[in-house]
């Protein structure tokens, strides 16, 4: 399953599917010589959950941050919903961002706001004409979709790590994105909570028909959620396949993730 470094073609069985994220030959260097991405190319199809594996510093988070415009690559092409992300104006990029949810590793909840305000603030920023009742209803719906309807009054400081991630996910879901990018959703959580989060990711995909890229080191999460896995090594896609295919891969380095 070892890929050529510049291989960008989706696997034959994916050819019938509609690609919604297409990344070609992405390069990024920080500072003078800290090259993180050396030509990453990948495709995510509609309704697909793509897991990206890789060691720390291999460029996984940088890749998904490029997709939402948080990091501007030095070279390469990013197409989302067939639109060239790097050619979009600020307003166009913001419209695109509403369609792409992003779950940060820490949840990134706004510390000064309660759970209700975290969600309502995000919703109101895009739907200013909603009444208070409508906002409250949507906030509750989003919280219940992650199983935390009763945490609405709490402040982020009162939440556990797992709860923060769920609330972060609810805040992402309130804008009803078509794509969700998960940056290490289970990192720092115990095994049971990690499994709950992985199941939640799967549940969201099934109910809301979203497509996702999931960055993780957690193989249990990868096994449960991945339709396809890509392994990133030294800034390039090193291997690609399903969980079962990569588990039996000839390459020792790839197999080491599964041991």
């Amino acid at each position: 399953m070892i890929k050529e470094e510049k291989n960008i073609e989706p696997k034959s069985k994916d050819k019938k599917k509609t690609p919604i994220i297409v990344i070609k030959d992405l390069h990024k260097t920080f500072g003078k010589d800290n090259t993180v991405l050396k030509g990453v190319s990948l495709t995510v199809n509609k309704g697909e959950d793509l897991v990206i594996l890789g060691r720390s510093g291999s460029g996984k988070s940088v890749t998904i941050k490029c997709i939402v415009g948080l990091i501007v690559p030095d070279k390469g092409e990013i197409k989302v919903f067939d639109e060239d992300l790097l050619a979009l104006s600020k307003d166009e990029l913001n419209k695109m961002r509403v369609k792409i949810g992003f779950l940060f590793q820490s949840g990134a909840l706004y510390d000064s706001m309660s759970v209700r305000e975290n969600l309502a603030f995000t919703l109101r920023a895009h739907k200013r004409d909603l009444t208070e009742e409508e906002v409250e209803k949507e906030v509750l719906e989003a919280l219940e979709s992650v199983g935390l309807g009763d945490a609405i009054e709490k402040m982020p400081a009162e939440l556990s790590g797992g709860m923060r991630k769920r609330i972060g996910l609810a805040r992402t879901l309130i804008l009803k994105p078509e794509i969700i990018l998960y940056d290490e959703p289970t990192t720092g959580l115990d095994t049971i909570t990690s499994r709950e989060i992985s199941e939640l990711i799967l549940d969201i995909k099934n109910k809301q028909k979203t497509s996702s890229i999931i960055i993780t080191h957690d193989m249990a999460c990868a096994k449960l959620t991945a339709d396809r896995i890509m392994v990133l090594k030294d800034g390039v896609i090193h291997a690609e396949g399903t969980y079962e295919e990569l588990e039996k891969d000839e390459d020792e380095w790839v197999r080491s993730f599964f041991e």
Binding site: F104, Y110, A125
Partner: protein, 254 residues
């Protein structure tokens, strides 16, 4: 040495662009009125006790320190006017601004710095919310409006402190004390002193926001952002004051 000089100039250029962006974004909707009012409450109302205590002490100490010299020249009756002039023209604006630099600029630097480090600013960005508009514009605007009000408040409390100072050694009627102050003041004392406080406020807010917004990754950078905000804001207050006094001198040259 050359690299550090280059970095300093690069940072000044970056800060200038950051400051310039405020004048563009302040007119761009959405107008975050709720957040602006919240910041006015935090910056203005919550600073009142601190400003009141320091203002009172400023007036009291200035009176007690000046009295012996004036007594020596038989000019004790000039004390209320002199204290009021010193307070309104220089001491209250600068000391209050320095207190605000310590309390507000460092607070904003630490708050935005921790938001940056914990990816809360990035979270706003990916939710298509303009973090500059929501976080920076509201804070700079609140500082620009609240610092002058705090200075006026410090002037008033300082005058009361001066009255207390005078009455330690004598017995002066408050009405007479105020009359003497009003007789010795002119608009040319009040207006430049108040105008410069708007600049103090703008720079206190802007520097706090700039340092916080540009904090590097890692919790250590939060403390560094707060510390750097205080130092830079305090220095900028003295520079603005020096420029303002020179300009006032030119405008009111007799």
């Amino acid at each position: 040495m050359i690299l550090s000089l280059k970095n300093t100039f690069a940072q000044i250029g970056d800060a200038t662009l950051f400051a310039k962006r405020f004048f563009k974004e302040v007119f761009v909707p959405p107008y975050e009125a709720k957040e602006f009012l919240k910041q006015c409450y935090i910056i203005g109302y919550k600073s009142l006790p601190l400003v009141a205590i320091t203002g009172f002490i400023m007036g009291l100490v200035l009176t007690l320190q000046s009295r012996p010299t004036l007594v020596k020249f038989g000019a004790e009756s000039w004390l209320p006017g002199m204290v009021a002039l010193s307070l309104i023209r220089e001491i209250a604006p600068v000391i209050t601004a320095l207190i605000c630099a310590g309390k507000i600029s460092s607070g904003i630097g630490a708050e935005l710095g921790s938001m940056k480090v914990t990816e809360q600013i990035d979270a706003m960005e990916v939710s298509a919310i303009n973090p500059y508009n929501y976080l920076v514009v509201t804070r700079i605007l609140a500082c620009t409006l609240m610092v002058p009000l705090l200075v006026i408040f410090a002037d008033a409390v300082g005058i009361v402190g001066g009255y207390a100072g005078i009455n330690i050694h004598g017995d002066v009627n408050f009405y007479r004390y105020l009359t003497q102050i009003i007789q010795s003041l002119e608009f040319s004392d009040l207006i430049p002193a108040t105008v410069k406080t708007f600049f103090f406020g703008y720079f206190i807010g802007m520097i706090g926001c700039y340092k916080g917004f540009n904090a590097a990754n890692g919790t250590e950078s939060v403390g560094r952002a707060a510390n750097s905000a205080v130092v830079t804001a305090s220095l900028s207050i003295f520079i603005i004051d020096m420029v303002a006094v020179q300009l006032t001198d030119l405008i009111y040259l007799k």
